[in-house]
Symmetry: C2
């Protein structure tokens, strides 16, 4: 195999596919990037069996072939090479020679035969959205997936399509995040749970431009994201996702309208008094025209007042401040509407157009305190 | 005690004095910042007994007094307060109340009586240099202090004054870094070893402007740096520093002139093949007009060629690449002169004007390889 490409093309490509390199694995081939040089293209591929990424880079192939190289070492070397054309050659002993101007590196490689390629895309069943939209909905929902692997479904996000509506949801047992997006076309109903890890990695690769698109393909056990010159293949999480609509169905007689940034800053300040791992709730007192936030810990105490508009009864309710912060950061609106019922029923933050819904369960602060 | 100041003034002041807060200590008073509010000034002070910092901030004092507050918590709160005037009050029970607009924090404080104040400055024996110069010489020498406390003198830097010359030097047993600075005036001879930790923290506080000055005061057991509205007091390290001149006195018959950035990039690249903790040398082959760098490790191998000008014999010599990188980064010149004698004698990087000298001992690569 022998190929030449620019440093920039190679650095970009390696950055993209490295997102599918596992942090720890006992199978060293999974730590490799495969260089697949054919007559008409140069592809870089990484695949940890759950998540696989392939990207095409510009360059010239003098001698088609494949070689798998340790992603970390290869990536570090490529980044540090001078700005110039990079030549990569490999021989029948799988020795790779990387040359750039007067610098020469020799690295042991592995055979492409050991490598797991990505499945072929079946090109019929897919939806198209903008890179911007996908990147935003991931940011706005991915924080409430569960890190606990005991309930696998909670580690993923629901992508649910009905006609021209896409609903993306995540939940971790304490809160639910939902985003609704209007699609440009109508599609067959679809329900798939995408691993949170996949979405986090995709979000790092997406340029996030409004004019650029992503095709999302649905296959038997995979979901595939195709954008720019990159293909991301991810296993889906199997099983029936939770009945979110039923969880959202409770009454909410109290409505509060509050400035989002003021509330967010105030709750962020309150967390300064909470040691990590400590479960101190922030206590929110809701009265006519004013909201009072209080936190009390071994470190000290804080109180702060905010102006609000309110409908319904007064209420005193406690929350994990972290959950409130996550939800309020995911919203862009200047003013947010918060809905409550009792001190034991959830708070729901949602807009009138139904673009977003964040549900947060309260903490029974009377027993905690 | 009651005082009012702007958020910005308090944030800046806390940032400065926090550099003297120890990372770990069993004495909780050392983790505190003392607020010293008198009729004519507000001072913040932190002092871990080795290093003490005092800075003056603008504000109004309604009721003079002192209170010591946990630096970490107080600092975090101050940073997160809204932009507005901050009021700090304390009562006879040492409870501190911090108010900013509608946010109120209550924190337990400690008495100023428990706190160690800084020694008074004796104002007669000092030198003056620019902040820029001090910040630069610290950056250019501090990397070669030793982290090993076994030889206390090696953890500091020599500041040696003779007439209008200041020499700053550090060494760790493998290398020596020396910077010579011309002072604007002549001073009495002085020799003092300043802890590296002090210099690292000062360097973070110094704005580094050419027009701003630093006064450095020499006292019996202390060295004091005074700049802007800040005073840094540090214990000095006692004992007779090493005889550097004697260490520098060997012959150097081989002289090489090389592009600094090219050599630096090449050695940086070579370290990609060295695992942390591994002692692989970079081997430098010096011939007429060319230098060849080689490294060989379990990961792979690298060779690279550089154009040089050379006087004297050919030479093959090995170095810890880290030491070469540190020295080459500390120099600003486009071309550097390197002096050698044999493969067992040190490499000396120095300029003709005697502004800088970096000595690096070689590694006997024949036994290592």
């Amino acid at each position: 195999m022998k190929m030449v490409c620019s440093k920039q093309a190679l650095v970009n490509g390696v950055n993209i596919v490295s997102k599918a390199i596992p942090a720890r694995t006992s199978m060293s081939i999974l730590e490799c990037i495969l260089i697949f040089a054919s007559n008409d293209s140069i592809k870089l591929i990484a695949n940890d069996m759950e998540l696989g990424i392939e990207t095409t880079i510009d360059g010239d192939v003098n001698d088609p072939g494949t070689i798998a190289l340790d992603a970390k070492i290869f990536g570090d070397i490529v980044k540090r090479l001078p700005d110039g054309p990079i030549t990569i050659e490999s021989d029948e002993n799988l020795k790779a020679k990387i040359t750039c101007l007067k610098a020469k590196f020799n690295l042991p490689g592995r055979s492409g035969d050991d490598f797991s390629y990505l499945p072929n895309i079946e090109r019929y069943d897919y939806i198209t959205i903008s890179q911007y939209t996908l990147k935003e909905i991931i940011r706005q929902t991915v924080f409430s997936i569960s890190e606990n692997e005991n309930n696998k479904l909670m580690t993923g996000e629901l992508f649910e399509i009905n006609d021209d509506k896409l609903r993306v949801a995540s939940l971790d047992g304490h809160r639910i995040s939902i985003r609704n997006i209007e699609l440009r076309h109508k599609y067959e109903p679809r329900k798939v749970v995408v691993p949170g890890k996949t979405l986090i990695e995709i979000s790092k690769i997406l340029s996030g431009e409004v004019e650029k698109e992503v095709n999302i393909f649905f296959m038997e056990n995979y979901v595939i994201f195709e954008f720019d010159r990159t293909v991301v293949v991810s296993r889906v999480i199997e099983g029936e996702y939770f009945d979110i609509d039923q969880m959202m169905s409770g009454d909410t007689d109290i409505k509060v309208l509050v400035n989002r940034k003021d509330l967010l800053s105030s709750i962020e300040r309150s967390t300064l008094l909470v040691k990590e791992g400590d479960k101190k709730p922030v206590i929110i007192g809701i009265e006519d025209e004013r909201m009072e936030l209080k936190i009390n810990s071994t470190i000290g105490s804080m109180t702060e007042e905010l102006s609000i508009e309110k409908e319904g009864d007064d209420l005193l309710i406690g929350f994990n401040p972290r959950f409130m912060i996550d939800a309020l950061r995911a919203v862009d609106d200047e003013m947010v509407s918060m809905y409550f019922m009792t001190s034991r029923s959830p708070c729901i933050i949602r807009d009138d157009k139904g673009k977003y819904i964040y549900l947060i369960l309260p903490i029974n602060f009377k027993t905690v305190q």
